[in-house]
Symmetry: C3
């Protein structure tokens, strides 16, 4: 179902809701397109601003507040010449009792071209993509515990910069897999692109049942799990998990699953360390690791602008990197 | 008074505060200008973006929160190449105790070109237009229960698309006339443009005294009132009216004044149904009617962008459609 | 320390954090550059929009809410062709527990070019300038009670329009010197530019100890202090000072230190009256003075746009007025 919804009849990307069901070729096209937006000839690197979306309007439709994610999408759209309308829906239309569908119908009638949607309910972006007018593209900026596809693609983009041969790649995702839309989308993207192994490392209380069905190996012990690993992806620990009895305490979590310099030595010597941010220093990751020379966390942020530009360019125009 | 305030010495539109006192020729010029901004050659229709307001700055000066209205004005201004500054005054300058007039004086000193004003107090836009510097245009985006002229003009624009001969036109406005700035401005605009009849249909508690003086006929019964009607305009029912003892209950209101498919059959067969939004489904209008084939509610939203572009272009430049 | 931090190795302005430690030549260059952005050939004067910052991104990083200041910086940046991202940090990233430094690191990774910083803590802008990446400029939009350099420069710019010979200039700054970052920056800028005398006039409870060390003369009496004065700068009285026992009452303050037409006569006949805004009418200044013919308060606001454009152009580009 999701596969078809994201593609036009001739296989072009129309919406970007989840990596699930997309081909390795299409995901690679996103990565290659993103590459074209980074000017590697300059130091420091700059973003190119081809005005591909001139006269297009992008609506940031955020039902959950997230300044950081909203800002990267706003920058990406403006870099391509689009106008951006920021709508924080938590505090606006719906407070007058208008339904989600009426809000969507009204915005699409205003000749806008894309919705970037963040919503606390899994499936919200899919619902909007199903319901919206044919000329509008929907980009999922995170829906419940379901998917966060642009985050997954910027992670894969960053990995490819350092470890281009995915057929030999072993990736560990560590932390609260159960509640993480980022982890789900990473697992899908890495498997589609042919990673040799995606390993999840978490206490049992933070792993969904039947996680192996997603095509991952499982470890409940960080020291064991880090062996032979090329890429270490740490997940943010939501502090509210502590109070919900899924975890004993912050310090106990850190001692078992927090990444320190010492534990990182168990992974391959040239392993890279990633984190989707924002970081809880001293909870899931030690500052020395987060700021250390194996960390590519800030590269992820930079790449996020280029990857979001690529997704917007591909869904909103006939632009193609082929 | 209002007549002169809105016009330059040579009769050009300077501010747009209310349709009251303006000529049929001028209102028609707004409609014709709006028409030029819609590209009817494309499917779906697109808005043209002539950069008429390049290097102009429009300030959205909203003393009442309204994401929807603010967004259409922001889109209209950006479509014309203007910069837009959004100011939600409820939470800013006045919280430091600055007077409305000092806020206006400061903004005009910053070389801005127009204020789009929404305010809970009737007459606020007029006051600002009277006080502001000569090079600034004021556009009323709704003041108290007084006027909402761009809403009225987009309604008239939509009617003209379907019923171009106003001399034969009978329009019914249904609901809370008493508190509606939209109804007041619609009545003025329709009468100026020569509509054959403007009929208001409402319970006595939701009609102002001496409403006939505005040039309308009155009905207190929906079935009677809908006879011979070409255009049915439903007003949003503010739910707080219920608690203020003006109305018995939502369900009783719906049974008396709510528009259903069955009641709509009383109007002319090709009657169109309008609503300024946001809709209270099942309160003043049944979903089958709102989404039915006689509804032009979403066309109103689309036309709102073009009409607001027209008003900005006419008040802020020497642009003229003649 | 602050001197070097603001300048590149070859003496160009890199950040603008405080006038302190900068040369008269550099401050004069800011004033001269601002002059080039004002089109004095038009009536009313207009701001020129040279697209010097096209493809640059300015982040308004406001940890204290201030619509007025944020708006002038937003206008200044847009007048130069920059994209602007508004971040109200009080309600965003830090609520997820991210540190200030992580917020800065993330934003700079997004390829932005400047931070305009307002923060309640003295030294915040310096801290960010010390920590941020080399390609980023930091402009202080007010930090605690420390500095507000663009306000000081627009004040000096306004003074120069009326009183070009600083060697003969006597300026009085009146009111709550103790808590005023504006006063501190004005004192520094005026002394650097060679003003003959900067006199502070305030009750003892609103003067810092050892204020004379900043190079000012002191008066505790408005009538005495206004003698021979060319420029009268009134400071806004924060009403919370009343409740903190520093002041007896609003009316008593006004009778001692409020500026009236009568008291203004004590100053030189052609003295100008300034105020950084927002004004407390009837608290520190009488409306007749604020709106009178010696007042240049609204010219200050206009000049603020040009001065902020100058600071952005000088810090963010190789642009120079030489």
């Amino acid at each position: 179902m999701t596969t078809n919804l994201q593609l036009t009849a001739d296989g072009k990307l129309k919406h970007f809701l989840t990596p699930e069901g997309l081909s390795a070729e299409l995901l690679t096209q996103i990565l290659d397109t993103a590459e074209t937006f980074i000017d590697n000839t300059q130091s420091p690197r700059k973003i190119k601003s081809p005005q591909l979306l001139r006269d297009k309007t992008v609506v940031n439709l955020f039902f959950e507040n997230s300044t950081r994610t909203r800002t990267t999408f706003e920058l990406a759209a403006k870099n391509l010449g689009a106008e951006v309308i920021n709508m924080n829906i938590a505090t606006s239309a719906t407070s007058k009792g208008e339904s989600l569908l009426d809000t969507i119908r009204n915005l699409e009638a205003m000749f806008v071209d894309a919705f970037v949607v963040r919503h606390a309910v899994s499936g919200a972006a899919h619902f909007i993509a199903q319901q919206t007018a044919p000329h509008i593209s929907v980009i999922n900026a995170g829906d419940g515990q379901h998917a966060h596809p642009t985050q997954a693609m910027l992670d894969v983009f960053t990995i490819r910069q350092h470890k281009p041969d995915f057929s030999q790649l072993r990736v560990a995702i560590i932390g609260d897999i159960l509640h993480s839309r980022v982890a789900r989308s990473e697992i899908h993207a890495l498997n589609i692109l042919g990673a040799k192994e995606v390993r999840v490392i978490a206490p049992k209380t933070l792993l969904p049942a039947e996680i192996e069905a997603l095509g991952v190996t499982v470890s409940h012990n960080l020291q064991d799990g880090l062996q032979d690993i090329d890429v270490v992806i740490m997940l943010r620990l939501q502090k509210e998990r502590m109070t919900s009895a899924l975890l004993p305490s912050e310090s106990e979590y850190f001692s078992c699953f927090g990444l320190t310099e010492e534990k990182l030595k168990i992974a391959k010597p040239n392993a890279i360390v990633m984190h989707p941010g924002p970081i809880n220093r001293g909870v899931e990751i030690d500052s020395k690791v987060a700021d250390g020379k194996q960390s590519v966390i800030l590269q992820q942020v930079s790449n996020g602008v280029a990857v979001r530009m690529a997704v917007m360019a591909m869904t909103m125009t006939d632009f193609s990197n082929h």
